[in-house]
């Protein structure tokens, strides 16, 4: 296992910059998520670590080795990494066993058979080794891809949108399994996703990317509770927003670093909604109610603006309420 260090990484296609001066560190044994909307440069960054794209500038180190830097570029096959592709990229002309054995075969490993068995066992595919990929489900194909990526004991495991092609139920199961597997072995993982649930549930730390830069690099809880920038606040989790002018002085707030100072944002679950009117609170009227199970989701009108509030108690449309949000942000 090894750490990964990116210093001042840049990548542009023609005149179009995709990654701008990006710094990032994945510590040894850490699971790091690169989270961002499509087109933010996260996949390009992952592919530069893999060696499948060459950076236009900057330096990448894996362990102590500079794999990409001025005048130096180590091709992907010599980086000793493992990668699971979004499409899985399981070779259809080889059996499961041949797919998984391939990296070891290229190394000329002597103990190939037991290691392949062990890898298949780790992803719960023992007994399916002689099948061809077209005889497997999507989830099983992903397990093959995972076993293939891990069999040669890579220095770092790279995952490109690992759960995006699975259905909702399987997604949760695979997320937990992947996390258990990599934590048990202490594998360094860098993965890319546009799905915040995937990032928050799988990663030790999350780097939020936007327009080719890292906006915030923090543990999931911290990212959720204390977003550093306007983009991080709006992209991770849901925010209810009001014009700042409608919010009374007494309600606590904290400004993000790049705040414009005209909007007030809070989590729907931390709205502190009560019946009636209270001084120093935001006055509003319930517009509608949708039952969600543990809570209900209300739309509340505040001076012509509508905000979303999640609350376990029952309110009726038309009722007068007041809000006293906690952990509010100025954006």
């Amino acid at each position: 296992m090894a750490r990964v260090l990116l210093k001042g990484i840049q990548k542009s296609y023609g005149d179009n910059p995709v990654v701008r001066s990006l710094d990032l560190e994945v510590e040894e044994g850490e699971v790091l998520a690169l989270l961002g909307p499509s087109g933010c440069g996260k996949t390009t960054t992952l592919r530069m670590v893999a060696g499948l794209e060459q950076p236009s500038g900057g330096e990448i180190r894996i362990g102590e080795e500079v794999v990409s830097g001025p005048g130096r570029f180590v091709p992907p096959e010599l980086r000793r990494l493992g990668m699971v592709f979004q499409s899985y990229a399981v070779w259809p002309h080889r059996t499961v066993r041949e797919n998984v054995a391939y990296p070891l075969r290229l190394q000329g490993a002597a103990d190939l058979e037991p290691r392949v068995d062990q890898a298949l066992d780790a992803v719960k595919l023992s007994g399916l080794g002689e099948r061809y990929p077209n005889q497997l489900s999507g989830g099983q194909q992903q397990r093959v891809a995972l076993a293939r990526a891990l069999v040669a004991e890579p220095r770092v495991l790279l995952l490109d949108e690992p759960l995006s092609n699975l259905d909702a139920h399987l997604r949760e199961q695979m997320r937990d399994e992947i996390r258990a597997l990599v934590k048990r072995r202490g594998i360094t993982v860098l993965f890319v996703t546009h799905d915040q649930e995937e990032a928050l549930g799988l990663a030790d730390r999350v780097a939020v990317m936007h327009q080719g830069r890292v906006e915030q690099h923090a543990a999931p809880e911290r990212l959720y509770d204390e977003p550093a920038t306007v983009f991080a606040a709006r992209f991770v989790g849901r925010q209810s927003e009001l014009p700042l002018a409608l919010v009374p002085e007494g309600i606590a707030r904290r400004a993000v670093v790049d705040a414009k100072g005209d909007a007030f944002a809070f989590r729907p679950s931390r709205a502190g909604m009560q019946r009636g009117r209270l001084p120093g609170a935001i006055a509003g009227t319930v517009v509608s109610r949708v039952f969600l199970g543990p809570t209900a989701r209300y739309v509340v009108r505040v001076q012509g603006q509508e905000v979303v509030v999640d609350q376990p108690e029952r309110f009726e449309p038309g009722e007068e309420v007041c809000l006293r949000p906690e952990g509010g942000l100025v954006l």
């Binding site: 096959e77 990668m83 592709f85 990526a149 040669a152």
Partner: protein
């Protein structure tokens, strides 16, 4: 290894495709070239080429479009079998057809002409422009018909139904909806026919030879100019090549541009079995029409050649006493040059097919996997020689590689390279000319292949070359094998370039066959023609089998 290999491919393309065409253009700037353009015999050849293109296009459209409609739009019984049978003439080299038709329709003792004479009808002289139109039109009609049938079977049937509901009769639907929708496909077929007819050499050459006043076309004039006097002939040939390029590449390019403005989104991707026109009792007429074409274009020429190879006395008529295998034993046992030429052509075709598949595959990989202006230009350069008439390409190769190229190293060792009259030049010509097949076929297949499959191999520790061998090659094997056959087939029977590039010690099947047919021994020519036809039919069967019907000529 990757930059080195790809660099070599680009270098080879520049030397063997770019340089010859450049040399040809340079040669055409010679003052003698300009003078040649004013020579009436050359102007007549230009006119003849234009007439030939026009005639063949009209003739092949007249046969091909109705046949395409029958196969693509009606419930014709046995459509699949007809499709295979009717595309056969396109597999057999057209000069084989020309040879057969000279025996059937030559003005003095052609078998059919004797029949016409007996019926009191006028003779048809195959040694004429009309004869060339006849042979080439029969040969090219399948190309028009396959394209038309394909386009028609993809038309959304509700478009036709909508016309019926608007009050159109069946005929009006055909005229106002169906045919206009198929027009781009028909136009594409027509522009191929124009390009092919302009570039054709074998048929015009064989059918000009026997005439009192031969109708020369541009390709045969170029050959003549070079054959009469290689030195003074070169500028003339280059000037005529320029004209030929204008007709053979320029006209189809204009046609494609016109078509490009009217592409129809309504032609759906899936072949449609629904909404076909029910032929009912008309199917007998349809069978009759298709059957007569098959008889005239496939059965008659092939049977004629087969019988001629068995006739003891040429022109002595058909009866059992006159049949025997003596020509076969003569050709196969007593004439070492024919067997040798068969082996040489086989070897050349296999080598050219292998080289073209490897080079074309790498070019296709570059075009798909590292797109950019550079790789696009390389792919365009690789496809260019196929669009250039063979005569022109061969002239270019002749101009470049007949010079003695001396590479002097350190004033001491020198290495000279003369490729003229060697098998190398033939192999290079076959490879370069047909590169477009592997580039096109493999490019299309590669576009359907997830790049992550290769990247996964790289991440597993495989080098670039290893990832191609372990992942790309096995997954694209049907296309790769099909490309190989698509090059091997035309290379084996090639005549247009061979006739300019072969040397006294390196005759190939095509040149030997032409020699036998023109001067020496028609029954021996028939034997060789039968063997050649059998080989290309086997190759064509091979490609169909190996690509599971997806690729075929």
């Amino acid at each position: 290894m990757k930059p080195l290999l790809l660099g070599l491919v680009v270098l080879a393309l520049l030397v063997f495709a770019g340089l010859p065409l450049g040399a040809m253009l340079l040669q055409a700037l010679d003052p003698a070239a300009l003078a040649a353009l004013r020579d009436p015999i050359n102007l007549r050849a230009l006119g003849n080429t234009a007439l030939l293109c026009l005639g063949v296009t009209l003739f092949s459209l007249a046969i091909g479009v109705p046949m395409g409609w029958l196969l693509g739009r009606t419930d014709l019984p046995g459509a699949a079998a007809w499709r295979v049978l009717l595309s056969l003439p396109y597999v057999v080299p057209p000069y084989i057809g020309a040879i057969a038709w000279t025996w059937l329709l030559n003005p003095t003792n052609g078998l059919l002409n004797r029949g016409l004479l007996g019926l009191g009808l006028p003779l048809f002289d195959i040694y004429s422009l009309g004869g060339m139109v006849w042979v080439l039109g029969l040969f090219l009609a399948p190309f028009v018909f396959l394209g038309t049938a394909d386009a028609l079977s993809r038309i959304d049937p509700t478009l036709e139904e909508a016309a019926r509901m608007s009050g159109a009769s069946r005929f009006q639907v055909l005229r106002d909806v169906t045919l206009p929708l198929a027009l781009p496909a028909i136009g594409a077929g027509a522009s191929f026919v124009v390009a092919f007819s302009a570039a054709a050499f074998g048929v015009p050459y064989l059918l000009a030879g026997g005439a009192a006043e031969p109708s020369w076309v541009l390709s045969t004039r170029i050959y003549q100019a070079l054959a009469l006097d290689p030195a003074t002939g070169r500028p003339v040939a280059a000037a005529l090549s320029l004209l030929l390029l204008l007709v053979g590449v320029g006209l189809p390019a204009i046609a494609r541009r016109l078509e490009g403005r009217r592409s129809f989104v309504s032609v759906t991707g899936k072949a449609n079995r629904g909404g076909r026109i029910v032929l009912g009792r008309w199917r007998w007429l349809a069978w009759g029409l298709l059957g007569s074409y098959a008889l005239v274009a496939v059965v008659l020429p092939l049977v004629t050649i087969g019988l001629t190879s068995l006739m003891k006395g040429f022109g002595a008529g058909l009866h059992p006493d006159n049949l025997g295998f003596q020509h076969w034993t003569a050709v196969m046992l007593e004439r070492p040059d024919t067997v040798q030429s068969l082996l040489r052509s086989g070897g050349l075709a296999a080598s050219a097919a292998t080289a073209a598949t490897v080079i074309g595959g790498l070019v296709a990989w570059m075009a798909v996997r590292s797109p950019g202006r550079g790789s696009r230009s390389v792919a365009a350069l690789a496809r260019l020689p196929y669009a250039v008439p063979g005569t022109v390409l061969a002239l270019g190769l002749l101009l470049v590689f007949s010079q003695e190229i001396r590479l002097v190293v350190l004033d001491r060792a020198s290495f000279s390279l003369v490729l003229l009259d060697t098998v190398w030049l033939l192999g290079i010509a076959y490879t370069v000319k047909h590169l477009a097949f592997p580039v096109g076929t493999i490019q299309a297949a590669l576009q359907g292949l997830d790049p992550a499959l290769e990247e996964a191999a790289r991440m597993s520790g495989a080098s670039w070359g290893r990832s191609l061998l372990d992942v790309v090659l096995p997954l694209l094997l049907p296309s790769v094998v099909a490309s190989w056959f698509l090059v091997a087939m035309p290379a084996f029977s090639e005549i247009t370039m061979s006739v300019l590039l072969y040397g006294p010690r390196t005759p190939v099947v095509g040149t030997v066959l032409f020699h036998l047919q023109s001067y020496a021994d028609p029954p021996a020519a028939a034997v060789l023609a039968v063997v050649l036809t059998a080989v290309v039919l086997m190759l064509s069967g091979g490609v169909r089998l190996l690509s599971r019907g997806r690729v075929g000529l």
